[in-house]
C-alpha cells in the first residue's frame, strides 16, 4: 500500500473514531462535563441565555440564530454552520479554528470521550 493510501485510511479511521465517540457518549457523564466546561456561560434551559446562547435544541439550528440572543460575533452569524454532532465536536475541540473571530473564550476540550459525552447530553436535553 502506498504511503498516501495508508495516510488516507488512518485519517478515515481517526474521523470515524471521533464520530463514534459522540455516538457512543454517555449523557449522564456529559451532564457533569457540561457543568465543568460549559455551564457558566451556557444553559440547556430553553430560552435561558447567559454570556452564550441557550443550547437547548441546538441540533439542526443555524449558527447565530437564537432570536433573543444578541451577543453573537459577526463571524459566528456568517459562518454558515448548521449545528450537528460532527460540527459541535469540531467546534468544541478548537473553537477558534472552526469560527475564527468568534467571541467564545474557550480553548477547547481535547478529550474525545468527554466531547462525546457532552454531545450525548446535549442530544438528550429536550
Amino acid at each position: 500500500m502506498k504511503k498516501q493510501q495508508i495516510a488516507f485510511v488512518l485519517c478515515l479511521l481517526a474521523m470515524l473514531s471521533g464520530s463514534q465517540a459522540w455516538a457512543a457518549g454517555d449523557a449522564k457523564k456529559g451532564a457533569d462535563v457540561f457543568a465543568e466546561e460549559c455551564g457558566d456561560c451556557h444553559s440547556t434551559v430553553a430560552g435561558k441565555n447567559k454570556k452564550g446562547p441557550s443550547l437547548n435544541g441546538v441540533f439542526s439550528r443555524k449558527a447565530g440564530s437564537v432570536a433573543d440572543f444578541s451577543g453573537y460575533s459577526d463571524a459566528m452569524k456568517q459562518s454558515g454552520i448548521t449545528w450537528n454532532p460532527e460540527k459541535i465536536d469540531a467546534y468544541i475541540t478548537q473553537p477558534k479554528k472552526v469560527v475564527a473571530g468568534g467571541k467564545m473564550k474557550y480553548d477547547g476540550l481535547g478529550d474525545a470521550a468527554a466531547r462525546g459525552d457532552v454531545i450525548a447530553y446535549l442530544m438528550s436535553v429536550k
Binding site: 457543568a35 465543568e36 457558566d40 441565555n49 447567559k50 454570556k51 440572543f69 444578541s70 451577543g71 473564550k105
Partner: protein
C-alpha cells in the same frame, strides 16, 4: 463601630500617643467593618448567569474562575441584552453572643454588654456595566451599629482585551478606595474569609498590615493586566482623601500620605475547569503622617505578602476550597514613637481558610487567624507612669492574637432555576470565633484594668444576609 475601637479608645486614654494609636486602630476596625460583601443580583441580571456561576456556594464574595474573569473584564460581561439597570441592594442582620459580657468601657454605643441583635448594614450598589468597557462596584452603606452612612467601597474600572503575540490579554485601569479591593482572588484583606463578621466581635488583633487597614480613607489608581488567562499583574498608586472628601464620604481619616502609597501584585492562575489554583505576591509601601493637624516626619510601612488558593469545583455538587496568605509588615514609626529609643516594629499576619459546599447550598468553612508582633508597650499597652505596671491592654506588650472561625451556612437560592433567579439571594448562617490568644497572651487587661481571658471574647453569631 467595632468594640475593638471602643477598647482601643479606652485603654489608650491615658497615653500621650492616644490619638495616633486610635487612628491606627480605626483603620483595623474599618477593615473589619467593610469585609462583608457581596453577591450582587445586578451582575446576575446583567450576565443572565446565576450567582453560583461567579461565586462558590451560590453567594458572594468567593469567586469562581468565571467570577474572576468577570471582575477582571471590568464588570462588563453581559448576555447581550440592553437596558439592564446596574443597581442592587443588600442587608445583613446578625445576633451576637459573647462568652463573657464586655465591661462598660468596651460596650458599643446604643447596645448592651452582650447578646446584641443589629441590622449591621444596609447597602445600595451601583454595580454593573456602564459602557462596553466601563463597569463599577460602588457600595454606599448605612451601618445600623454606627448609625451612619458611608461610602463603603468603590471600584470603577475600564477594561479591554488586546493581543500580545498570539495570546489574549486583558488590560484595565481601576479607580478605587482600598488596596486589595481590586484583587480577583479571595486571599487578601478585602475579600478573604470571614466574608461577614459581627461588629460586636473583638476582631483579629489590635493591628493589621497597612495594606489591609486603609479602609475607604484613600483613593487609588491601579493599572492591571491579565495575560493568557494565567498571569495577573497590578500596580496601584494611593493617596489619602482630602478632609472635604472624607466628610462627603463619611469615611475614616487615615492620615496624610507623604508622597504616594505604592501597591503591587503579581499572581499566577491556572484554571483547569475541574479545579484551579493561584499563587501570588503582594507588596505595599507608604509613608503616613497620622495626624493632619500636626505634620512632621512620617511613619513608614513596608508590606510584603504571599498567598495561594485552590478550588475543586468538579460538577459543582461538591466544592472544596482552600485559601491562605501571609503578610509581614516592617514599620518605622518615626511619628507615632517620636523620641523613643527604637522606632522599629514588625507585624506578621497569617490567615487561612478551607471550605466545603454541597450542591451550592450547604456550606461549612474553617478559618484560622494569627497575628504576631514585637513587644512594644507604647503601642499595645498602657503603663502607669508611677508604678510602671501595665494598667490596660497587652500584659506582655505584644499584640499577638490568634484563634479560629467556624461557619456553617445555608444558601437556598442563587442557582439556575432557583426562586427569584437573578433577582434575590439569601444566606443564613452561624459563625463561631474562638480565641486562643488575645492582645499578647491567653489573658490581657480590659478597659477597666481587669484581667480578661482571650476565650472570654469567643463569639457566636447568627446572621441573615440578603441581596436583591
Amino acid at each position: 463601630m467595632n468594640i475593638m475601637a471602643v477598647f482601643r479608645r479606652t485603654i489608650l486614654r491615658q497615653s500621650g500617643l492616644r490619638k495616633l494609636a486610635v487612628l491606627a486602630g480605626a483603620g483595623v476596625v474599618l477593615s473589619l467593618s467593610i469585609q462583608s460583601a457581596n453577591a450582587l443580583p445586578s451582575y446576575a441580571r446583567q450576565t443572565g448567569s446565576e450567582c453560583a456561576s461567579c461565586h462558590v456556594g451560590g453567594f458572594g464574595p468567593q469567586l469562581t474562575p468565571y467570577g474572576i474573569r468577570f471582575k477582571i473584564n471590568g464588570y462588563t460581561d453581559s448576555d447581550g441584552k440592553e437596558g439592564k439597570i446596574p443597581l442592587s441592594a443588600m442587608m445583613v442582620v446578625n445576633s451576637t453572643h459573647t462568652a463573657k459580657d464586655v465591661p462598660d468601657g468596651d460596650k458599643v454605643n446604643h447596645f448592651n454588654n452582650n447578646n446584641n441583635t443589629a441590622m449591621q448594614e444596609a447597602s445600595v450598589f451601583l454595580a454593573g456595566r456602564l459602557t462596553d468597557n466601563i463597569g463599577s462596584f460602588v457600595q454606599v452603606t448605612y451601618s445600623g451599629v454606627d448609625r451612619t452612612y458611608a461610602l463603603d467601597q468603590a471600584d470603577i474600572r475600564y477594561a479591554r482585551s488586546v493581543k500580545l503575540g498570539d495570546k489574549d490579554m486583558t488590560v484595565g485601569v481601576s479607580l478605587n478606595t482600598n488596596p486589595t479591593l481590586t484583587d480577583p482572588f479571595n486571599t487578601l484583606g478585602q475579600w478573604r474569609f470571614p466574608y461577614t463578621s459581627s461588629d460586636f466581635n473583638a476582631g483579629f488583633g489590635p493591628a493589621a498590615p497597612k495594606v489591609e487597614s486603609l479602609g475607604g480613607g484613600v483613593m487609588g489608581v491601579n493599572a492591571y493586566a491579565f495575560y493568557d488567562d494565567s498571569i495577573y499583574a497590578e500596580l496601584g498608586l494611593y493617596n489619602n482623601l482630602s478632609k472635604k472628601a472624607l466628610n462627603a464620604f463619611n469615611t475614616e481619616d487615615q492620615g496624610k500620605f507623604k508622597g504616594v502609597g505604592t501597591y503591587g501584585r503579581l499572581a499566577y492562575f491556572k484554571d483547569r475547569k475541574r479545579d484551579n489554583f493561584s499563587v501570588g505576591l503582594l507588596g505595599f509601601s507608604a509613608d503616613i503622617q497620622p495626624d493632619r493637624a500636626v505634620l512632621g516626619v512620617a511613619d513608614k510601612y513596608r508590606d510584603v505578602g504571599i498567598d495561594a488558593s485552590y478550588q475543586y469545583l468538579g460538577n459543582r455538587q461538591h466544592i472544596f476550597t482552600a485559601n491562605a496568605s501571609y503578610v509581614r509588615e516592617w514599620q518605622r514609626l518615626n511619628y507615632t514613637m517620636l523620641g523613643a529609643d527604637d522606632v522599629h516594629n514588625t507585624i506578621d499576619q497569617f490567615r487561612a481558610a478551607g471550605s466545603y459546599h454541597y450542591d451550592q447550598t450547604w456550606g461549612g468553612t474553617v478559618g484560622v487567624f494569627d497575628l504576631r508582633g514585637k513587644t512594644n508597650t507604647s503601642l499595645n499597652s498602657t503603663i502607669d507612669e508611677g508604678t510602671g505596671l501595665v494598667t490596660n491592654g497587652s500584659i506582655s506588650g505584644r499584640p499577638n492574637t490568634s484563634g479560629y472561625i467556624l461557619q456553617a451556612d445555608w444558601t437556598p437560592w442563587g442557582k439556575e432555576g432557583s426562586w427569584g433567579g437573578g433577582w434575590a439571594n439569601v444566606r443564613v448562617g452561624v459563625q463561631y470565633t474562638g480565641y486562643i490568644r488575645f492582645m499578647g497572651g491567653s489573658t490581657y487587661l480590659d478597659s477597666e484594668g481587669n484581667e480578661r481571658r482571650a476565650r472570654d471574647n469567643n463569639t457566636t453569631m447568627l446572621f441573615l444576609w440578603t441581596s436583591i
